[in-house]
């Protein structure tokens, strides 16, 4: 099996075979929707992997120029459809920044609570689908089983299971139903031991470690160069999380919450004491670390949800009334970035004073994260391509918009 040597011009080979161009996707079981990767392969070795995007383009941004901000909220749901609440939140914050709205405290905690719950759901899918990419089916269903419970909770809150449109400009469309917090706590209690199961099935599984450790190593510099964010960036060891380092309007939401950014320090992760140790073969920035960061972020999000539940139940008063559907926007522009499960999701709004914005734009985290595929997949084996792309955990709806 030929592998690349240090000098990129020298390629070791057994038998000279023709280079093949292979289309992985858009109809392929493991390209997370409709990503099309054009692989140039020499036997099993991939010499080039070019992502082609655009198969899910739905002109969401153009539509945003014809709708009021609150009307555009459902479209943000359909961007990162696995983390609709976080998308709603990002756009709402951008519009609120433009309108300079201040929210009641209860709305703040409610948003943290809902956004972190959605982060758990999103990471569960990411984890399950990653197992699927590596050829094991069961963890996928185990992850979906837990996610279903979150979706059930969300359904009680807003009536929808995938496209929530719950968090909106000025707060949320409704308060949490009575008794919901208890259900949420019960869910968190039973999720904790299940997470250990996932670790047994995937994180510590010898085959899983062999498939992911040392594969697709993304150095910190390269991650920053490509504009990677979220778990992909933190998996490379860069200590950066918008919930701590972001704009004040966003970070003040998390004021008073105790949480540590999940990033490796001296071979250890925060809160990893009851977790499996980092395997010896793993290199910082490889697929295993990206996966592990996601798993730990689930734990982190669970902590945050618990804190949010406490603080929410202590608050009294208003949960935040949504603004009028056709509320006039002040003239000007605003850009707001939030830490979504997949990374840094930015929304930009430009207004000329009417109720419909002049421009509505989104900065997609998956788009930047996907751009590293070309670099990471060079010289790997075909089987590593799904492993690498899966570890980036992309959602095509967000990339193509």
């Amino acid at each position: 099996m030929a592998t690349q040597t240090d000098d990129p011009r020298i390629i070791e080979f057994d038998v000279r075979t023709d280079e093949m161009l292979v289309n992985m996707g858009p109809q392929h079981p493991s390209t997370h929707g409709v990503l099309r990767l054009v692989l140039r392969t020499d036997g099993e070795i991939v010499s080039e992997a070019t992502p082609h995007i655009g198969y899910l383009h739905r002109c969401a941004e153009k539509i945003g120029e014809n709708l009021t901000p609150r009307q555009w909220i459902p479209y943000t749901d359909r961007m990162d459809y696995l983390a609709g609440m976080n998308m709603n939140l990002g756009w709402s914050l951008a519009v609120e920044k433009l309108m300079n709205l201040e929210l009641p405290e209860k709305a703040r905690h409610l948003r943290v609570l809902i956004a972190e719950m959605n982060r758990i759901a999103s990471h569960l899918v990411g984890m399950g689908a990653y197992g699927l990419d590596l050829g094991t089916f069961s963890p996928f269903l185990y992850a979906f089983r837990e996610r279903e419970k979150i979706l059930d909770l969300f359904e009680e809150v807003c009536g929808a299971r995938l496209t929530y449109s719950y968090i909106t400009v000025g707060g949320a469309t409704a308060d949490l139903p009575p008794g919901w917090l208890q259900k949420c706590e019960a869910f968190l209690d039973q999720l904790r031991p299940v997470i250990d199961e996932y670790h047994a099935l995937l994180t510590t599984n010898a085959i899983f470690v062999r498939r992911t450790a040392g594969i697709g190593v993304l150095s910190a510099e390269k991650a920053i160069d490509y504009g990677c964010t979220g778990p992909v960036l933190r998996g490379s060891g860069v200590d950066y999380d918008l919930r701590r380092d972001g704009e004040q309007r966003y970070t003040e939401m998390y004021d008073g919450y105790a949480f540590e950014v999940i990033v490796e320090r001296d071979g250890h992760y925060p809160k990893d004491h009851d977790y499996p140790p980092v395997p010896k073969t793993a290199v910082l920035g490889d697929c295993w670390h990206r996966f592990y960061v996601r798993m730990l972020e689930v734990m982190q999000a669970m902590d945050l949800v618990r804190q949010a539940i406490d603080r929410y139940s202590m608050c009294s008063g208003d949960w935040g009334t949504p603004v009028k559907l056709t509320e006039k926007l002040p003239k000007g522009d605003a850009y707001m970035e939030t830490e979504c499960p997949r990374g840094q999701m930015g929304f930009y709004i430009v207004s000329n004073g009417g109720s419909i914005p002049l421009r509505a734009r989104a900065r997609s985290s998956s788009f930047c994260n996907l751009s590293v595929t070309y670099d990471l997949c060079r010289g790997c084996l075909i089987a590593d391509v799904p492993a690498i792309v899966g570890s980036l955990d992309i959602v095509m709806g967000e990339i193509d918009r």
Partner: protein, 410 residues
């Protein structure tokens, strides 16, 4: 059977009918087995994944789900890509099926219940199972699809490599038994469960696990299902297949799973002999009454099938638990782990049998030895009764083996 039919039919027809009956019997085992095992796989995977699996078709447990699926597959269009090498494309699934089907011919289902009593049965089965790879390679090449070609190349590399440790593992029980005749190997493990070759010595115990790993790899089951790795190669070698031909690949896969599990059952788990010598206590096995012998064999058949099904279920359990290996890791597993361990086990078993001939802990050893000497008589009977349809030298290939063995070692 042929002799019986001859009373009513012309001789040629009688033989043909007898042969057909045998062939169809085995085909039924293969086809029915596939139906049951696909159903079982769906049930097992369902239970593993917190689902119910099929529940509707054919009553509460969805017994007939596979049949319904099979009917659906038959009605589907038999697609053939324009770039395919049409002749090879059409033939390939049947090549695969034939290979795993032929292996059943030498597989004894109970004491003496075997289509052709070969005295090199172990060797034959391993050899024939190795041919299944041809179907896969031809399918992969002939499909004219790059994914299929990848699958075929992987399969070729994998199967050829895994045949080495598999062969070494199979040789270990053969070495202990002193024969390659599966019927004789089965008979040697009669009695209590510690007579099974699995418990013969620590080395056979190790070798069994290596065997099972290699067998899983050689029948292309997860975590070694590289040839059809659906997350990488879409569906690998059968990407372009549809309908009946696709289901034939499936049949081949399941029937070879059964063959390797059954082979493991005979080589390591005493074949048709239960963990307790019940038939011996009841006097069924040694009875001169043919009916008693028949009942003993029926019990043996249940025993044997139970062991084979347990093996297959174990493979399913593994499949739904573990991620898939990468091709270079599959090869490394074979060359760096399986082959050396198998070779070590082989050497160990040689030394062990040299030091403790006849095993270490067999309290009723005399009985076993006695069995061994009695081999010739029932075998001659069974050979005569079961091999009517087979060709003559094959049928009688076995008798005299043991006499010769002693002769040779003297």
């Amino acid at each position: 059977m042929a002799e019986y039919l001859q009373q009513y039919l012309p001789q040629s027809l009688a033989y043909l009918t007898a042969a057909l009956v045998h062939a169809v019997l085995i085909l039924v085992v293969v086809a029915l087995g596939t139906l049951i095992f696909i159903w079982l796989e769906r049930k097992v995977s369902g239970r593993i994944q917190d689902r119910l699996g099929p529940t509707r078709v054919g009553g509460k447990f969805g017994w007939l789900q596979t049949l319904a699926d099979g009917l659906k597959l038959i009605t589907k269009e038999d697609l053939r890509p324009a770039s395919a090498d049409s002749m090879l494309f059409l033939i390939a699934p049947y090549v695969s099926l034939c290979a795993s089907y032929v292996a059943y011919i030498a597989l004894p289902f109970a004491d003496g219940w075997v289509a052709i009593h070969l005295n090199v049965a172990v060797f034959f089965i391993v050899a024939v199972l190795g041919l299944e790879v041809f179907g896969v390679m031809l399918a992969g090449y002939a499909s004219g699809s790059k994914w299929s070609l990848f699958g075929a190349m992987r399969e070729a590399a994998q199967v050829v490599s895994y045949e080495v440790p598999l062969g070494i593992c199979v040789v270990v029980p053969v070495l202990i038994a002193g024969t390659m005749d599966l019927v004789a190997i089965g008979q040697m493990q009669a009695g209590w469960f510690f007579n099974w070759f699995l418990f013969h010595d620590p080395f056979t115990f190790i070798v069994f696990w290596v065997y099972f790993t290699c067998a899983t790899a050689s029948v292309n089951r997860a975590p070694f299902d590289l040839a059809e790795a659906e997350s990488e190669l879409v569906a690998g070698f059968h990407t372009e297949y549809s309908g009946v031909r696709w289901s034939i690949f499936f049949m081949a896969e399941y029937s070879s799973m059964v063959v390797v599990s059954a082979l493991a059952a005979i080589l390591f788990f005493g074949g048709w002999n239960g963990p307790l010598p019940i038939t011996h206590w009841l006097g069924l096995a040694d009875s001169a009454n043919p009916l008693a012998h028949y009942v003993a064999n029926l019990l043996g058949l249940i025993n044997f099938l139970g062991k084979a099904i347990a093996g297959v279920t174990f493979m399913m359990w593994v499949r739904w638990t573990l991620p898939r290996l990468r091709i270079d890791q599959v090869m490394a597993t074979c060359l760096k782990y399986c082959t050396p361990i198998a070779a070590f086990g082989f050497a160990g078993a040689v030394i062990w049998t040299f030091l403790f001939p006849g095993g270490l802990v067999i309290p009723n050893k005399d009985w076993v030895v006695q069995e061994e000497y009695q081999l010739d008589e029932p075998q001659a009977q069974s050979a005569a009764s079961t091999s009517a349809a087979s060709t003559s030298p094959l049928a009688h290939a076995d008798s005299g083996l043991h006499a010769e063995e002693h002769h040779g070692t003297d």
